[in-house]
């Protein structure tokens, strides 16, 4: 076992950081709850960052690293499904890629828009279709992703049936949740630590109060553990590992997000601070695949039957 990044992974992440640098600190005035950039999305796609898992020499771990790193940006980028799930279906699938559970297709869906590939994961089969303009509408939500809603029941859409196991898709989906949540948590934690270091109350930085320090340290422990669970699951592609990683991700949303806003005080209620751009994405990930209960039952099944 060697958990150091390979030379290829270092090179890819360095190139990604270089590309993403100009997107790290956007102006926040007059932005909506979600921050998106078509230019960033195009640059990522054109430079192949979302296709690394198609290269067997790079593989799924490298894709998970890319997803984790991109999630740290304040911009919402459709990377997780494209980089980690799309390889099961082939590179020709149009982006963005939207993952939908059959039976829950009426919920708001991340990145859903005309032209998106909608992958519908049912009990026994997986289908997909390219969303048409009259099948979707964009939706304002509190989640910091662009969201859309399907206007049709996917069961009635003439799509493509895939020779892909629903369980395999769910495993990749769980890895995607975990990798993206790891980056979101890391970025949110970083923004909060910066704020409480600068913000003075009672004559000293908020960060010097143990009531905050310990809870932030516990968030670091969770974030670190999640990162490694996500990467391990990406390496093994084991359903149990993936369920554990997604469980730890969704549980960490519950334990960390309100603390992060709490520590910003009233600033944590505003759109002037970017914290919500990470935490309100985390909230959107919390309900995927039946949420914590769903991941826990899947993990228990994999571990003990």
């Amino acid at each position: 076992m060697d958990l150091a990044l390979t030379a290829d992974q270092i090179a890819i992440l360095d190139a990604l950081d270089s590309l993403a640098k100009s997107y790290a600190s956007p102006t926040l005035h007059d932005t909506s709850l979600a921050l998106v950039s078509e230019t960033l999305d195009r640059e990522l796609a054109e430079n192949g960052f979302l296709d690394v898992a198609f290269d067997p020499d790079l593989g799924v771990v490298t894709a998970a690293l890319v997803v984790e790193r991109l999630a740290r940006l304040p911009f919402a980028v459709e990377a997780a499904a494209s980089a980690l799930v799309r390889p099961l279906f082939g590179p020709e699938r149009a982006r963005p890629v939207c993952l939908v559970e059959a039976g829950r297709a009426s919920r708001p869906i991340r990145f859903l828009a005309a032209g998106a590939t909608v992958i519908v994961v049912g009990q026994d089969r997986v289908t997909s279709f390219v969303a048409q303009a009259d099948q979707v509408r964009s939706e304002e939500t509190l989640f910091a992703y662009p969201m859309g809603r399907l206007l049709v029941d996917p069961a009635t859409v003439a799509g493509t049936a895939h020779d892909v196991s629903p369980d395999d898709v769910k495993t990749r989906w769980r890895i995607a949740i975990a990798a993206e949540a790891a980056g979101l948590l890391a970025a949110a934690l970083g923004s909060v630590t910066a704020y409480v270091t600068d913000r003075q109350q009672f004559g000293r930085p908020l960060a010097t109060f143990q009531a905050l320090r310990h809870r932030l340290a516990e968030a670091q422990v969770r974030t670190n553990g999640l990162y490694w669970l996500a990467m391990k699951a990406a390496a093994t592609l084991d359903p149990g590992d993936a369920a554990l990683a997604a469980l730890h991700a969704q549980e960490s949303v519950r334990t960390c997000v309100y603390d992060f806003h709490q520590f910003l005080g009233a600033m944590g209620m505003t759109l002037e601070h970017p914290l919500h751009l990470w935490t309100y994405r985390l909230k959107a990930l919390a309900s995927d695949l039946d949420g914590r209960g769903g991941q826990a039952l899947a993990a228990a099944e994999a571990a003990w039957g």
Binding site: D2, F209, R213, E218, G225, W228, L247, H248
Partner: protein, 381 residues
């Protein structure tokens, strides 16, 4: 990133398991409840460690010239996992191989190495750790046990408390004050426990029989040659020792094994039904495996020869979270375990309470993470 064990590492683990299966007595699980510091287990551990040493599996990660095989930190981890999951048949000797020996190798004089390392390598030494005092627990730098230079000797007077293994130990790794400077006034003495002036009293504990003690030093005289390192150098030596100790015990592995055992028992008695119990068990499992991977990240860095600092506190706290959650799971779903019905789970429960207290309290780990990982400004003193 590569997450696979090598064939050689798999074989090493299998060899350890085969050794344990062939060596441990049939009633080991019940026997191990005596606790690692009990007279019964201490005596057993001397035999066990001697056999382990002859098989070349007591100190395989030590340098070859000092009785090891020069194997990397992954082997140390595999060894520690298998022993801890088995109920730690090495008793208190795990400390020797985890941190006392490595500290002596790094800081000991030639005479100290010659005196103390062979008994460790041969599995016949038992040390105790003279750190905490009534007024100096987490705040170790407040310790008051004083060593006063008197010619070629130190005269030592003071008290240690909550000292594991002191009742049966041969030697004490004694931290004491040689000047008033808060941190640079602390030194380490290696003290034979039969030195006149030492009195040991056992403290009844929740951990198990014979585990913690008070140790009194009443004008004890030890030669200057018993000092480890330079006078006043203790703080950096302790930092090195604790980094080893904090990762030395893979408690996540025992927590996972206890969890697996609990599920097996619940299934056997028809109670592994419904979603609530499965969800709670999976939450425990996620914490165990998160702690394992956080620990492996540290081991991996060490195996590459990188310095490891505050990150080990993050892995340690992750392990505390796992340890506690599994213990709570057992209390809720298998209360019989705290009686004599399930010796393995009782053993886990007894030892689990130590996780957040020994080798630097959980709150100290959080302070370290806050200051040295998150780089938050420190609290005013």
């Amino acid at each position: 990133m590569h997450f696979e064990w090598t064939d050689e590492e798999v074989a090493f683990r299998q060899r350890l398991r085969a050794f344990l299966a062939a060596t441990l007595p049939d009633d080991w699980e019940r026997f191990s409840q005596h606790g690692p510091a009990s007279p019964a287990l201490t005596e057993y551990a001397r035999d066990f460690c001697g056999t382990l040493a002859r098989e070349g599996m007591l100190t395989p990660h030590w340098p070859k010239e000092i009785g090891g095989d020069g194997l990397d930190p992954w082997h140390q981890t595999i060894l520690a996992e298998e022993m801890w999951v088995a109920g730690e048949p090495r008793g208190g000797q795990y400390m020797n191989v985890n941190w006392i020996g490595p500290t002596l190798i790094r800081y000991g004089s030639p005479a100290q190495r010659e005196q103390y390392l062979p008994p460790i390598v041969e599995g016949r030494a038992l040390w105790c750790q003279g750190f905490s005092e009534p007024g100096a627990g987490s705040d170790l730098a407040s310790l008051r046990t004083r060593a006063v230079l008197d010619g070629d000797n130190y005269r030592v007077t003071g008290q240690k408390i909550w000292t594991s293994y002191a009742g049966l130990a041969d030697t004490c790794f004694l931290v004491c004050r040689t000047s008033d400077d808060r941190k640079r006034g602390i030194s380490i003495l290696l003290v034979p426990m039969d030195t006149p002036g030492i009195t040991v009293r056992q403290i009844p504990s929740l951990i198990g029989e014979g585990d913690i003690h008070e140790v009194f030093f009443d004008d004890m005289v030890v030669p200057v040659g018993a000092r480890l390192g330079e006078e006043g150098e203790a703080w950096s030596i302790i930092a090195y020792s604790l980094t080893n100790e904090r990762l030395g015990i893979p408690r996540y592995a025992l927590a996972r094994a206890a969890l697996d055992r609990a599920v097996e028992l619940l299934r056997g008695q028809g109670d592994w039904v419904g979603e609530a119990i499965r969800i709670e068990a999976a939450q425990c499992l996620a914490l165990c495996e998160a702690a394992r991977m956080a620990s492996y990240a540290i081991v991996s860095a060490r195996a590459r020869g990188e310095a490891v600092g505050a990150e080990s506190s993050s892995a340690r706290f992750a392990t505390i979270m796992a340890e506690r959650r599994v213990a709570e799971f057992v209390v809720e779903y298998l209360p019989d375990a705290l009686a004599d019905a399930h010796p393995y789970l009782k053993m886990h429960h007894q030892r689990g309470i130590v996780a957040g207290i020994a080798a630097g309290a959980a709150e100290i780990q959080l302070n370290i993470i806050a200051s040295d990982v998150l780089k938050l400004p420190r609290e005013p003193r």
